[in-house]
Symmetry: C2
Subunit: 253 residues, 2 copies
């Protein structure tokens, strides 16, 4: 999923880089060249008159009799859709959202983006049933990995930004990468490392990032209030910086 | 996947029982009642004149905008196909097949049958590239869980049949369950427990079971020859017993 802001694809290059990586890791050929893919994406946005919205892209190995091993002669299939969405989330941004924590039961190659999302679907449904916005998944050692469709962040008492380092244990969010870059540019201290649920409960600020939510303040984790219960100052500064970047210079023409 | 033998659905009740369990575990409603589903399955086999072949069945939550949480008003969708297949595998049964072992990287709810099969697809492809028939997945403690689309079995030096106990760590194969029942009826000693790769290398016999392969002798595991390198006596006896059962009294009319 790539967000469209002011008719531009946000972080287009980053998304295509990660797609390239996922394709390589599962040995899937490109349906069209990388250059053509970018052209088609932009053309789809243009012809559908999407100013603010989402582009969704999916690639399969192609049509073949059902079997486990890769088909020999199938041609990969590319499906792409674009639709307008309301990107305003004023209420959530002002008051912050609540997340719950759940065990991370996913497979071991979470760095590969695929449609095999059943654990994330079950986790997100649990969050919805608990009246929460997202579920943060927790590994066997008690460390947060990430949300079901977002990356997890905290700000420590010492005002250090912390998010899990990108290994096979998480999907390396494109928005996550941009936020790290922007934090560096703005001189914010940050660490890429695992943090425990207890550390998150006691954090000064918390937030989540994703292509559709940008930077979303988290003000409650399970039954704990984060910091003073208000959207954090660093969180909101990073949100503003990201939206400024996304709407302008960083996006493709 | 349900095998059709002599125009009958093999282990129909077992397959529908497991479907019921998977639907319940992911909170998905039945698209039609259990009784109607069985009728439709048999009708599909009849109208397609399938004598020997496969019936494939898939259920989704239905049509809804892409989101993680369950759709509110979607009606579940049922897709079913049936096709004739050649069930003869004389060469493989006579000489046995080779399996390789790979790390089990799947999620923690392997008891749920879903289309999120990417790890199994990657494993089966690795097997194919190694010239093997199947890949046995191995947990972090060195114990075999199961194949990518089959259950794994060994026969010990003491002539005891061993297959992993059914927990959330494996998919409880319908053929697996029938073989355990048949083994009991034939007075064969068996144990449901985990076994290591080393124990498998040193086994007297080995085989795999699945709806499409019934009981398939395994005569090589990685680079080790199992027993005397020939299809085992107990293995072949169980295969005969299963096919007799599947073709006759145990199948639905």
């Amino acid at each position: 999923v790539v967000t469209v802001l002011n008719g531009r694809l946000v972080d287009e290059a980053g998304h295509i880089d990660r797609l390239a990586r996922s394709l390589r890791e599962v040995d899937m050929p490109w349906p069209v060249s990388r250059r053509v893919l970018g052209m088609v994406m932009r053309e789809l946005v243009r012809r559908n008159h999407i100013r603010n919205g989402l582009l969704y892209l999916q690639i399969t190995r192609g049509v073949a009799p059902r079997d486990f091993k890769f088909p020999a002669r199938a041609r990969p299939v590319l499906v792409m859709t674009a639709r307008p969405t309301d990107l305003d989330q004023v209420e959530n941004v002002e008051h912050g959202v609540r997340v719950i924590t759940i065990p991370d039961i996913r497979w071991k190659r979470r760095d590969i983006k695929s449609v095999a999302l059943l654990p994330q679907v079950l986790g997100k449904q649990r969050a919805a049933e608990a009246g929460a916005f997202e579920a943060w998944q927790v590994d066997e050692d008690g460390f947060v990995t990430e949300g079901c469709s977002s990356n997890a962040w905290i700000v420590t008492g010492g005002n250090v930004l912390v998010t899990r380092h990108a290994t096979t244990m998480i999907l390396n969010g494109i928005t996550r990468q941009s936020i790290l870059r922007l934090a560096g540019e703005h001189g914010a201290a940050f660490e890429e490392r695992a943090f425990t649920v207890a550390e998150a409960y006691g954090a000064r600020e918390a937030f989540l990032t994703s292509a559709t939510n940008f930077v979303m303040p988290v003000t409650r984790i399970d039954d704990y209030v984060v910091g003073d219960g208000q959207s954090g100052a660093l969180t909101l500064a990073l949100r503003r910086a990201y939206i400024e970047y996304a709407a302008g210079k960083g996006a493709s023409a």
